[in-house]
Amino acid sequence: MKAATEHLSDTLLQDYAEGVVSGAELAAVEAHLVGCTGCRSGVAGWRALLANLGELPRLAPSAAFADQVMARVKIRTPLAVRVLAWVRSLFPFPATPRTWALATAAAMVPVAIVGGAAYWVFSYPGVTPGNVLTFLVWRAGDAVGGFVAQTTTALLESRFVLPAYTILEALARSPGAAVATVSTFSALTALALWVLYRNVFTARSVDGRHAAHLFAF
């Protein structure tokens, strides 16, 4: 019974007033409060303070706050989204139903011409889709083979091959020059990749002034 005559701690009175006391502790607090006017008035005091604290408002920054923040934010756009935006910027995509209709009509002209031509070709007896396909495959194989042969010949006959061979031979004889050349090329490659990375793959300011820091390090 001695414990009942000891007053409740200030901390416990605060917690009780705030409603964060539970279980056996809550029962003990309530039992004490029944017989102690001092602690009851303590609880009332804490409740009054908590009520005041509960009325504290959130304060608003100025109206321009969000815009000022966004002007300094670099929005990171994934590559796929950026490529799509780039493709869209290359073509004047229709914006209204009317322009969509015009664009569709324009796109139908070549479709109609090709369709008409195909109808005309296949209307001849003896011309079948199989025949045409075989002919096309034969012509395409011919063209690819010719291109490869021509490129190889041009490369071998090129006047750049001999100087390149001479340089490589010189480098092979002097390891110092070889190391210097390889290092310079590596550094230039790294620099080029870094410029590419900075300007193409990473963030670009939302204010759209990306041209201003093109090639900025």
Binding site: G45, R58, A60, M70, V73, I75
Partner: protein, 196 residues
């Protein structure tokens, strides 16, 4: 897309995909809470705007590093609170160097010169502070230690749990409880005649 219906973590995901409206929605959700905390810390509107702006810029520009295991709001409060604490620390150093000047020799002289500086022409900025943070309870909160101010604001303006406050302030739970109890005891002492 109804951005307002998405939760914070979904918004962060969209922000990472480069959707500007997701950033805007996060701003509209947290500009008042963050500004309120920082303003109550530094008690100067222009400084609070700068610090709150810096908070959002830092959070948004490092949105890729956000760990979804934590609440987004806790993360942004943590950064805002740290910026405010740093600012107060720097300001305290400046104040100390001014008070160390040879012109003010006694504590009384220091006090009177300080008051003169403060009373020397109340600009619109100070007027706004008087209106917004001029109530007895706001001034009493302003007199608390900065750590107590953070804890009290998060608890009573934001309705944060002790655990969440501990996460924001990077302190043990017990320390946070002690801060809040002591802060409220100090407030009650100062406002005793008003709240009862």
């Amino acid at each position: 897309m109804p951005y307002a219906e998405l939760d914070d973590k979904e918004l962060v995901k969209l922000a990472r995909e480069g959707r500007e409206p997701a950033y805007r929605e996060l701003l509209s959700r947290y500009q008042r809470p963050v500004f309120s905390l920082v303003y109550r810390m530094v008690r100067d509107r222009a400084t609070a705007e700068d610090l709150a702006q810096e908070t959002f810029v830092r959070v948004f520009n490092s949105i890729d590093t956000y760990d979804p295991a934590y609440k987004f709001s806790s993360w942004i409060f943590k950064i805002g609170n740290n910026l405010a604490i740093d600012h107060l620390r720097k300001r305290k150093l400046d104040t100390l160097s001014i008070e160390g000047s040879p012109h003010a020799t006694t504590a009384d002289q220091q006090e009177s010169s300080r008051i003169t500086v403060e009373a020397g022409g109340e600009n619109p900025e100070q007027y706004v502070v008087h209106r917004e943070l001029g109530s007895h309870i706001e001034r009493a909160i302003g007199d608390l230690r900065p750590e107590y101010r953070t804890a009290i604001t998060l608890r009573h303006v934001e309705g944060y749990s002790y655990e969440e406050i501990a996460e924001v302030m990077e302190l043990p739970l017990g320390t946070v409880k002690t801060y809040i109890h002591r802060a409220r005891s100090e407030l009650k002492e100062r406002l005793g005649h008003l709240v009862e």
